[in-house]
Amino acid sequence: MTDHDKPVTDEELHAYVDGVLPDDRKEAVATFLAANPDAAALVAAWRAQADAIRARYGAVADEPVPERLQLDRIIAGDILASRRGSTPFRIAAAAAVLLAFAGGAGAGWTLRGAPDHAPSGFDRMTAQALDAYRLYVVEVRHPVEVPGAEAAHLRQWLSKRVGYELRIPDLSTLGLKLVGGRLLPGPTGSAAAFYMYENAAGERYTVYCAKASDGETALRFKTGEQYAAVTWVDDSLGYVVSGPSDRDKLEKVAKNIYDQVDKGPEKKG
């Protein structure tokens, strides 16, 4: 048997320990180990390592799966970004799947919080708002059509086009200055108002709002790779507040806006 006479390689010793050595080499390896105590000691040490690792961690797989890792909860979306303070990791994570499977079309902004449901008009609006965020937030020279200095004019103009007495929130208490705004296509061919805010650190937040067919909804948080959004519908006006995916900050901004627009349309004058 020629197989028997072939010298035993290191690879085969590993395969032996890992139980993946082909049957026709098992005898040769056993014979080799019997004649070579050093190699036998090595194999025994490797086995002991493997046993120790399995003894230490093997039982983890038998633990009940914690609630936050249950698919239903993850799919429901309420947990997508519930972990706080891990933004750098999350941003760094962006390309992970693409690294794993190069190719694959636009892994960018697909908001798949609840893939079971067909996207509603409001989901489409959210996607549009995030597209706008992505598009304009990097714009240095022309992020807006009307600068924040002309807020009154901006409000009048956008209110007319959207068909709703809008209120442009003042976010100065959060250190956010109004950069300005622009008119954008809305979800159903209608018009949408788009405002941009900026803080001293250069972080930008945007508010996209347009008439929505949905009634009222609660504030919802949606996260993507690098950006996140808080969305809601109030008084048949849909809002999408977008910003960097730091949930605490974004929620603070969104709630502040929510409180301000909740007071109803700004009185003219």
């Binding site: 290191d10 690879e11 590993h14 395969a15 890992d18 993946v20 090595l42 040490a45 490797w46 390592q49 493997a50 120790a52 690792i53 399995r54 003894a55 230490r56 961690y57 093997g58 983890v60 797989a61 038998d62 633990e63 799966v65 914690p66 936050r68 890792l69 698919l71 993850i74 799919i75 947990i79 997508l80 972990r83 891990s86 750098p88 990791f89 999350r90 941003i91 760094a92 994570a93 390309a95 992970a96 799947v97 690294l99 794993a100 499977f101 694959g104 892994a107 697909t110 798949r112 893939p115």
Partner: protein, 161 residues
């Protein structure tokens, strides 16, 4: 689609085990698994058949690599003597944790995928995106390093998880 979900769901216990051994930190491990699940669910359209389990390990490994990269950019304070790091763990278990901590990341992955997760060398090669020969040499180095560590030799380089 329902099958896809079920297949993903079936991998969760093993992913948790793998992540726990990789990070040696229960919370961090579950964070990693959570992110892996989110990514997988969002990337359903990128999954073109094949072994779901291998795919999930691949995502998790990539996420962990990114995490470490992000950490590397921010210097962290680590105790020089981590003798009291594993609270209440028996001496032997602590040795395993510390031994794993001395490994180079890719070696640790290779060893754990084979020894703890029971994957074939070919599957590990697929996950790591390298030839089988590279997996074998990572495995060999990992085993040799752990042996040296457990026998009391100081590792050449103290690596922090």
């Amino acid at each position: 689609m329902a099958t896809f979900r079920r297949d993903i769901e079936a991998t969760i216990p093993a992913l948790r085990r793998y992540a726990r051994a990789l990070t040696r930190d229960a919370d961090l491990a579950d964070d990693l698994v959570q992110d892996t699940l989110v990514r997988a669910l969002r990337s359903e359209h990128l999954f073109h058949g094949g072994d779901t389990r291998v795919w999930m390990y691949t995502i998790l490994a990539n996420l962990n690599r990114n995490r470490l990269r992000a950490l590397a950019r921010r210097p962290a304070m680590m105790p020089i003597d981590d003798g009291d790091a594993a609270e209440g763990a028996p001496e032997g278990a602590r040795d395993v944790e510390r031994a794993l901590a001395t490994l180079v990341e890719e070696q640790r992955h290779a060893l754990l995928l084979v020894v703890l997760e029971g994957l074939s060398y070919r599957e590990v090669a697929e996950i790591q995106g390298v030839p089988i020969g590279t997996v074998m040499s990572r495995l060999a180095r990992a085993r040799s390093q752990i042996k040296t560590f457990l026998e009391g030799g100081r590792p050449a380089l103290r690596r922090v998880k």
